[in-house]
Each structure stands twice: as structure tokens, then as C-alpha cells.
């Protein structure tokens, strides 16, 4: 039976330098449960070390975690990668690590903490996670698709780090699985503003960097079960699965 699942498919953890330290796996999951979310995607900037701990924190709880990453392309476009499992995420991370350069400056950009499901700091990431990879947006999308993931340009309605801001428009040969509209604009205003993008499914997500932001923008997906295969079908509009607009 198809039913509506409430999804927030873009949430940062304290591994992102711009997110608050309170965004550790246990607190993040607790907040998502409080907000009655069914599915969340955990996506840090060019990093993913907290995803296994979020999965551990959510074990046995009534919420599905989608492994994800928010990748910065060479053009400085943010692209969300949603993946089916941790092994695909690890492969994507290995690729990103080979193409991301520079060291973080904690005083300027913030701390990048890897925190386990018990709230204990495991590691401090020293990479410049706010930097850009030297992979083009086309290369990033191809890599996500090789790993059978979903490639979604983030917050296309924002001026900074968005595909429309950086690259002006989306050409007909782009292979995006959906486009993310920020909560500030929302789905219906997004549709009005971008009639030329009507062939794409739109998602709205919180892009939460603070606990209080989790679930402030969500998408309603009509699915049979909270699985990756079902999410893929909903974005493609197959077999009755869809995004409720």
C-alpha cells in the first residue's frame, strides 16, 4: 500500500564546519524523530564520516537514514549525492578525497568533528571541506550514477553555490535525478519561478546546519516502503510512486 513518507533529504552534521557542534548523530536523530520525519539524508560538505554513526544512532528506531554527501564541483556548484548504502558512500568519498585539496582553518571556518552515536568525538577532520573539488559537475554526476546513486543539485534558487547561479541555466543534456528548492522558496513558488524546469521533480529540504532547522522544509513522498529503490521510483514518477506537490 502506498503511503506518504515525510522526508528531509538534506541535513548536515557537526562534521560540516558551518554546522553547530550540537548536530551530533544522536541529537540529530532525536530531533528528526521529534519532527516525525520518516526518512532523512545525512549530507556533509565533501565528507561522510558521521553517516555510519547516524545509522547506528537510528538503529531500532522508526526512521530511515539515506547515506549522502553534498559535493562541491569545480564550478562551485553544490550537488547532493544520495546513495543506497555505505559501501557506495565509501567509494564516492575515496574519489572526493583524491580531488579535494587544502587544510581547514578552524578559527575561520569552524570545527569538523566526527562524533559517534554516543556523542563522543572520534576524530577531527582537517581537510578544507568548504573548498571545491577539481571535478566538473558532469564528472560528479557521472560518478554518482556509476555508484547507482541519485544526483540532485542543491538549493537551485539560491544565488551562491547553486547550479543556476554558477552556470546560468540547466542544459537539456544534464542528467539530474531531481532539483532541490530551498525551503524559503518552496515547491509551489519554485514551480512558478522555473517553468522551464518542469520536466524535473522538485524536492524541498531543510539543508539544516542547526538542530532547530531539521524538518523545517520537507518533501512528501508517496512510497510503498521507506527504501532507496522506492525513493528512486518516486523521483522518476514510476509505478505510482511520486513526490506529492
Amino acid at each position: 500500500m502506498l503511503k506518504v513518507y515525510h522526508c528531509d533529504l538534506h541535513i548536515h552534521t557537526c562534521l560540516s564546519p558551518c554546522a553547530e557542534l550540537d548536530m551530533h548523530p544522536q541529537a540529530l536523530v532525536a530531533r528528526a524523530l521529534e519532527k516525525n520525519l520518516d526518512i532523512i539524508a545525512v549530507s556533509d560538505h565533501n565528507a561522510s564520516a558521521n553517516v555510519p554513526y547516524v545509522l547506528a544512532a537510528a538503529a531500532g528506531k522508526n526512521i530511515r537514514i539515506v547515506p549522502a554527501m553534498e559535493i562541491t564541483t569545480r564550478e562551485e556548484v553544490h550537488v547532493l549525492a544520495l546513495l543506497e548504502n555505505l559501501s557506495a558512500l565509501r567509494e564516492l568519498q575515496a574519489l572526493i578525497d583524491r580531488h579535494l585539496f587544502g587544510k581547514n582553518d578552524e578559527d575561520r571556518f569552524g570545527v569538523q568533528a566526527v562524533v559517534n552515536e554516543r556523542g563522543e568525538v572520534e576524530d577531527i577532520n582537517t581537510q578544507l571541506l568548504l573548498g571545491a573539488t577539481d571535478l566538473s559537475i558532469d564528472e560528479i554526476v557521472a560518478a554518482i550514477h556509476r555508484l547507482e546513486g541519485l544526483a540532485i543539485p542543491a538549493h537551485i534558487d539560491r544565488e551562491s553555490f547553486s547550479v543556476l547561479g554558477q552556470l546560468g541555466f540547466i542544459d537539456d543534456n544534464a542528467h539530474f535525478d531531481a532539483l532541490e528548492i530551498s525551503g524559503r522558496t518552496g515547491l509551489s513558488r519554485g514551480r512558478l519561478r522555473y517553468p522551464e524546469l518542469d520536466r524535473y521533480p522538485f524536492l524541498t529540504s531543510s539543508d539544516a546546519h542547526f538542530l532547530r532547522d531539521i524538518g523545517t522544509a520537507t518533501s512528501a513522498l508517496l512510497l510503498e516502503a521507506p527504501t532507496f529503490a522506492e525513493i528512486r521510483m518516486a523521483l522518476a514518477g514510476q509505478n505510482g510512486r511520486r513526490i506529492v506537490e
Binding site: D138, Q166, L167
Partner: protein, 113 residues
């Protein structure tokens, strides 16, 4: 001033549409945000940028720019070269940063008029 004269004066490396250098350059615009370039540049302008994605050709073609200059020795991608050749948009590469190449072209254009 024609593109050819700017190429000669600044020693630019012409990557594609080499037979389209007789166009007139009416001004210039420097920027890497394609949305901004689409909004603020004008026909005939030479566009100075660090972006190498194929969308730059579509923007230059749409805005009827005379040519594109890539800064800091940035190389156009294969797709960008192919599209530029098809759209007849000359792409030149400079080893200078945007500030310097923009200043030099500004001087050339204003000295001439």
C-alpha cells in the same frame, strides 16, 4: 577594436573558432557567475572568466559576445571546445589573472576610442 588586435597585443592563445577573429569588441565583462554575466553583459563584449564548463559557450552565444578569454591558463573542456567551434565563439587563454587581463583590455579599448 577587433579580437585579432587584442590577441596580438596580449599574446593570447586562441583555442577555437580561429576564423572568427575579425569581430569588433565593443566592451568587456569579467565574471564567473554565469547568472550575473547573463544579466549584465552586452552584445559585442569580450568575456573574461575562470569557468570552463560548456555552458559558457551558450551564454556567450546568447549574449552575442565577441569572444571568451579564460584566465590563469585555464583550459576549456573538450565539450566546451566542440560547442565553441560549432557556435563560432572564439575562446582564448591567457596566463594572467582576471584583474590584470581585464585592466589591459580596458586600456586597449579606451585608448583606441
Amino acid at each position: 577594436m577587433k579580437i585579432e588586435e587584442i590577441v596580438q597585443a596580449l599574446g593570447l592563445d586562441v583555442k577555437c573558432a580561429k576564423d572568427c577573429l575579425d569581430r569588433e569588441v565593443t566592451g568587456g565583462y569579467t565574471g564567473d557567475l554565469l547568472s550575473d554575466v547573463m544579466g549584465n553583459s552586452k552584445a559585442g563584449y569580450i568575456w573574461i572568466t575562470r569557468q570552463v564548463h560548456q555552458n559558457i559557450v551558450a551564454v556567450a552565444s546568447l549574449k552575442e559576445h565577441s569572444a571568451i578569454i579564460l584566465i590563469n591558463s585555464s583550459q576549456p573542456t573538450a565539450e566546451t571546445m566542440e560547442k565553441a567551434e560549432a557556435e563560432k565563439i572564439p575562446i582564448m587563454v591567457s596566463d594572467l589573472p582576471a584583474f590584470e587581463i581585464s585592466g589591459k583590455i580596458y586600456n586597449l579599448l579606451t585608448a583606441k576610442s
